[in-house]
């Protein structure tokens, strides 16, 4: 999901809600993240664009809350509970995900297969869809964010 600096980022996103699991005295989500603006984007195996410094899901513990909520490995996290994740450092992302006072996180994630699904379904539906119709049809959200 490449972007042009200064232009709004457009992506097809999916909303995922994960209930945190209590383990000992910590609330965990059951996945690992990688990436961030202070990290080396070239080493990210999941990104298409090797200059993409977003937060990616690198590992899912099987049977954990993230797995249950249908989070996949390689997903890029765009928002966490309303907080933007496209231009944050690794540590900031971790902090937003591990706030101990919240026990649910609502993520907006994007992946390549979502784009393909959208384009395929557009092809199957010859009649012109409005933006709102499309949204309801696919339960997706067109995500727009201004990236500095």
């Amino acid at each position: 999901m490449s972007f042009v600096p200064g232009q709004p980022v457009t992506a097809v996103v999916q909303r995922i809600e994960i209930q945190k699991l209590r383990q000992g005295d910590k609330l965990i989500l059951g996945f690992s993240i990688g990436g961030g603006i202070d990290q080396d984007p070239g080493q990210n195996p999941f990104s298409e664009d090797k200059t993409d410094k977003g937060i990616y899901v690198t590992r899912i513990s099987p049977g954990g809350p993230a797995d249950v909520a249908n989070l996949r490995m390689g997903d890029k996290i765009m928002q966490v509970n309303g907080w933007d994740m496209t231009m944050v450092t690794h540590d900031q992302a971790r902090k937003k995900l591990t706030k101990q006072k919240e026990d649910v996180v609502r993520l907006l994630i994007t992946r390549k297969s979502l784009e393909e699904t959208v384009s395929q379904s557009k092809g199957k539906n010859p009649k012109p869809c409005t933006y709102a119709n499309e949204k309801q049809n696919l339960n997706d959200v067109m995500y727009t964010n201004n990236v500095r």
């Binding site: 965990i28 989500l29 996945f31 690992s32 990688g34 990290q39 080396d40 513990s61 690794h90 591990t98």
Partner: protein, 527 residues
């Protein structure tokens, strides 16, 4: 400017007559008296040190009959060619003149003139000082202390001038160049004019009027010596310093095998640049080996060998030129169309040759290493114990040479180098290596890679006749794009000069504290 001429081969005659610089004084104005002759020819000869005068004489005599009409013997000329007359009859006349004068005379003439000028220069101040004492001693004022101090100054300045002239001019001549050094002639003329003008002034104002102020005369002599020292400074700058700063890059290619080198030269005339190129040739270029070139010639001969042209139309149809042209075009077309497998042969032949050379080299290396183990240097304390079998290096070399001779000979035959090394030279080289504690590898290095011409026996690089072929006048300076040719008997060196570009350099300041680094991270955190 002069007309162009690129005749080259016939300057054997002219080359010998060039009169190389003798050891001794450099002739500063050796061609002053010949300034009336002018020439249009530019193909000239560079004589490297005249080691074989006998050889030169015979070739000169044999060539004399031939090059009657070529007339490019370039004897002395002035440097400026605006005055040159480019007519052949003048050339012929002056050639006859030179014949009558004799070939050796030129060299002695220039030496004589240089000696005369030198004596004139050194004796003039002394004459200035002594003539008043001789001619009108009674009227002369006595020399006070200041005046005597000036005597010391004259003496030391003359001594310095003598040493400086010795350092600059009393050097063995490197080469005989076809034309005069323009700067040398200019300096000689300048010195002569200076001395003559001082003499004129002296004779009119001092001798005629019999000036009694001796201190003035001494000061006059001191001023002359000062002026001479300044002219010497000018000579150093013009002759030695000016060409030190590199200005042109000359690319020299050997015509037979394409070996190329690049040299940086300063602002030189073409003949001096050619001299520098020849001197560098001997130490940089690998030796010219004609045996390596025969293969390509035989290949080239085979290309058109199989074709024969028949003229099917009647004999009177085409003009001869058109016929020849159409024939050659037909041959070229046919040769191009023919299925040529010579590249195949070349490839396999080269692979085979490479393999053979490597095999022979391996045998040679082993043989030499084994041979070197048979002798060892005797220590001093052993000297008393075994006086019997002690050998000097030459005998030691002769002792171990037979064991490696066969392998070495076979290797040299395979790489076609056998004519470069004689038995004697190989044994000498072996003795040299043994004396200097060299390893077998060091001994073999001169055989495994072809070295520069200096490395081989003297007949390979001694006194060669080089001919300079140039379209521009050889005393004109090097320019961007000047090309000249240096012809030798076996091959020629093509030299092209290019100007070294003007370099614009700017600076960029980097604060030493600005070097900061961070680690590239890729961390993974579980949430």
């Amino acid at each position: 400017m002069d007309t162009e001429s690129t005749y080259s081969g016939y300057s054997h005659y002219s080359g010998r007559s060039r009169g190389s610089h003798r050891h001794g004084e450099r002739s500063r104005d050796r061609h002053k008296s010949r300034s009336k002759d002018s020439r249009s020819e530019k193909s000239v000869t560079i004589n490297t040190p005249p080691a074989e005068p006998l050889l030169g004489d015979s070739t000169a005599r044999s060539e004399q009959a031939q090059d009657d009409n070529w007339g490019e013997t370039t004897t002395a000329i002035t440097g400026t060619s605006e005055h040159s007359l480019s007519q052949e009859d003048i050339v012929r006349i002056t050639k006859d003149l030179e014949d009558s004068v004799g070939l050796d005379c030129r060299r002695y003439f220039t030496r004589a003139v240089a000696v005369i000028l030198g004596l004139l220069v050194f004796l003039t101040p002394l004459a200035f000082l002594t003539l008043p004492h001789i001619l009108w001693p009674e009227k002369l004022q006595s020399c006070g202390t200041a005046c005597e101090g000036l005597f010391i100054s004259v003496a030391f300045k003359l001594l310095i001038l003598l040493l400086a002239v010795w350092a600059l001019y009393f050097r063995p001549a490197r080469a005989g160049l076809p034309r005069v050094f323009v700067f040398r002639v200019l300096l000689a003329v300048l010195v002569f004019l200076l001395v003559v003008s001082y003499w004129l002034f002296y004779s009119v104002r001092i001798l005629d009027s019999q000036d009694t102020n001796y201190q003035g005369v001494v000061q006059y002599a001191v001023s002359l010596v000062d002026a001479l020292l300044f002219i010497h400074y000018l000579a150093v700058v013009l002759l030695e310093l000016r060409q030190l700063q590199p200005c042109y890059s000359v690319c020299v290619t050997r015509s037979t095998d394409g070996a190329t080198r690049h040299y940086n030269l300063g602002q030189l005339s073409i003949q001096r640049a050619a001299l520098a190129v020849v001197e560098n040739y001997y130490s940089d270029f690998p030796i010219h080996n004609p045996a390596l070139l025969s293969a390509s010639k035989s290949r080239a001969a085979k290309h058109l060998a199989g074709l024969k042209v028949y003229n099917v139309d009647g004999p009177g149809n085409n003009t001869s030129a058109g016929l020849v042209q159409s024939q050659s075009r037909a041959m070229i077309a046919a040769a191009a169309r023919r299925r040529d497998t010579s590249h195949n042969e070349l490839y396999y032949e080269e692979a085979e040759h490479e393999r053979r050379v490597r095999k022979r080299k391996a045998r040679l290396v082993v043989a030499v290493e084994e041979a070197f183990t048979h002798i060892k240097r005797m220590q001093d304390e052993e000297q008393k114990k075994a006086p019997g079998d002690v050998m000097d290096p030459r005998e030691a070399a002769q002792a171990i040479f037979p064991s490696m001779a066969r392998a070495l000979q076979k290797y040299l035959r395979t790489t076609k180098q056998q004519h470069c090394h004689s038995m004697e030279s190989i044994q000498q080289h072996l003795a040299f290596c043994i004396t200097n504690n060299m390893t077998p590898k060091a001994f073999l290095e001169s055989f495994l890679t072809p070295g520069p011409s200096l490395q081989y026996s003297r007949d390979h690089w001694r006194a060669r006749q080089w001919t300079l072929v140039s379209e521009a006048s050889v005393t004109s300076g090097l320019k961007d794009g000047t090309t000249f040719l240096l012809k030798c008997v076996d091959f020629s060196l093509v030299a092209t000069s290019k100007k070294i570009p003007y370099i614009q350099m700017s600076e960029e300041y980097i604060d030493p504290k600005s070097h900061k680094f961070v680690l590239r991270l890729q961390s993974e955190t579980s949430v």
